[in-house]
Amino acid sequence: MTSDKYAFSEEDIKLFLDETLEMLEVLEEEIIKLEEEGEDRELLQDMFRLAHTVKGCAGTIGHNRMSDLAHSMEDVFSRIRDGELMPDQTLVNILLDTLDALRSLAVEVTPGFQGEKLDIESYLTRLETAASKTAKPSETHETSPIYGISVEFYEDTAMPAVRALQVLQVLGELGTVVDSQPSASQISEGEMTGFNFFAVLEPALSVTLEQISENVSDVPDVDSVECSLDGLDEEICVSEGEITEVNGIEEEDDGSSLGDSRRILGRVSDHAIRVDIDAFDRLVRITSEMTIEQARLVEMQRRLTQSDAFELEVVQGLEQVISQMSRLSTELQEEVMKARMTPLAHLFRRFPRMVRDISTKLGKQVEFIVEGEDTELDRALIDEVADPIIHLLRNSVGHGIEHAEQRLAAGKHETGRVRLAAGYAEDRVIITVEDDGRGIDSRRVRESAVRKGIITQDVAAALSEEEAIDLLFRPGFSTAVEADDVSGRGVGLDIVRSNIEKLGGTVRVKTRPDEGTTFQVSVPLTLAVFRALLVTASGQRFAIPLSGVVEVAQVPVGKVKSIGTGEVIILRGRVLPIFNLNRFATDNAGIERNRKDDLIMVVVRYEDSRVGIIVDSLLGEQEVVIKSLGILSGWVTGFLGASVLGDGRIALILDIARVIEKTLGRGRLQDRL
């Protein structure tokens, strides 16, 4: 039965991936929680349910290895829940490995998947071995068992849903129905097509299997009842066996060799956002209103072309339509922006596992606290802040938190504490990574910077405490110190800062010796809209992102000096390389020296570098919406994109980092951008 009717579309596969990967993420979080907080019936019930659903999805898509593995995991959860297994560290480790395996298995259904298919044998064996070893002593067997009840109705039953409802009622008198297939609400709505019903029952005290079987058989039209202790009937979970493997769909590989952090994120569907249904409805409403206005416009155009007389009525109508349209488009823009907002929880929930892995590897005891995961951020930004946060967390666990002995010796609690928190501050989101570790010793930072040739001894001595700590963010500071897989692969805090600054954000650090270190990342709520300074040069308009603007100054031409091939301006005793926006096309040509009026200069900053951009005039500040330059983007360097202004003209948006790089002719930025 492999007709095309049963083939899976790309859409199906995408949904499968999105859904299972999300469930696996939640499951991961819950496994960690289980280890931390011990057995919790509700938690275990949820874990059991998730594994069960993953199994069902995998079965439906015909991925038998995945469904088998999920089944084994589900077994272990149910045994933990029933008090037969102890979730000790060994078992949790195995569960986490199994989870990773399930992730890899899920990804195998991606169209064009060419990697090696995972062999699940070893995972199955490990789960089984662990299950047999960690069996609890039987005296603690006090938790009530779980019964699986499988009911078949006669195939001529006219209304199977009614019978299923009656079975549910009967079961309700004997205990608590934890889950059923079809679900209680489906049954209540009459949605039942087959003649099988399956329920998981947590029986009331002293209710026996026989009793259940007897009472259920009493419901009319019941053909057979099978009750078993915690056994979930295979038939139910693995759906119609007629679905074929999907792995075979061959397509161009998108060449994704997932990086370390990407692998941690397990991200496959980077481009999916979930939109609140109400928000979507508002979008639909706005769009349909716009369609109506559009139709009115067409009608007016028709009337205008038909009559040669100037019609006042038409003009008034036009005014109305225009004001409606502008209201609608503002509303539309706001709604679409809102739809891009995603809670940070999507990102944060992956971190407990990562922190646990790192601290286990390093033999450190770390308590990890996550706060403010409801804070929402533009979806695009969430992806961008992921790597920097991963880096900061690794940093905290790897360098900040001390080993237990050291902590005890310093009079601290032996378990270190790492806190990840997010919250709003005006139109920005602040993400904090805080540890109560050893702190950063500014003296050692100075020494190290001198040793690496970043600054001279004299400069080092003259730096304030704060400036000294800031050396951590200097390029070249943390590279090559250690390239272990805990603190990153030779990637330093400079990359963290430059990545965040690229988003118009900032990174700050506060530290106290022996008390701990706090990194504070601040990013704008959204990337797509930002405030910019509008300027003109050679008759063109340009937008300079306000986040990078330090000041605007008027400077007499006489202050321009030539140094080598470039030009600089001495501003308040500081040498400032200049970039003439008037001639950006001719690669930083010089300034016309015999002009009489003052130069208008916008001073911009990127990392530690400042450059003065010479413009013709200032037009003021404005919110701009960034649009990609598309295919042109490789051709025109130095611009982030373009923005359409109110009068329909285009302003190019300056990429400050590139402009500075161009001006200073530095190679380091080039390597990275």
Partner: protein
Amino acid sequence: MPLALIVDDAAFIRLRTRKLLEENGYEVEEAKDGEEAIQKYKEVSPDVVLLDITMPVMDGITALKGIKSIDPQAKVVMCTAVGQQSLVLEAIKAGANDYLLKPLDPEKVLASVKKLVGK
């Protein structure tokens, strides 16, 4: 002898069912709509009620609720047609014990009634 109350607006159906039940050892009372059914239930407290769903004056679901409020232990079998599943589900939630599909199959009627009166 157990007592059955047959509620249906069609005299023909009442007659057929009465015959069937009497032949099998039941005493039978009749009602032709929901209101009459509640009234009769109060008077004779039958062991089992066969209750049609679609009836004039008062429908079967309303009658069921009325009967259940008088006697929560009342044994009621709903008689229904194909396509009324949502009504039957509602009836079961309101405490009906079983349902029978029209046209009534004598064997099934007897089986259902027998189960409920425990005989």
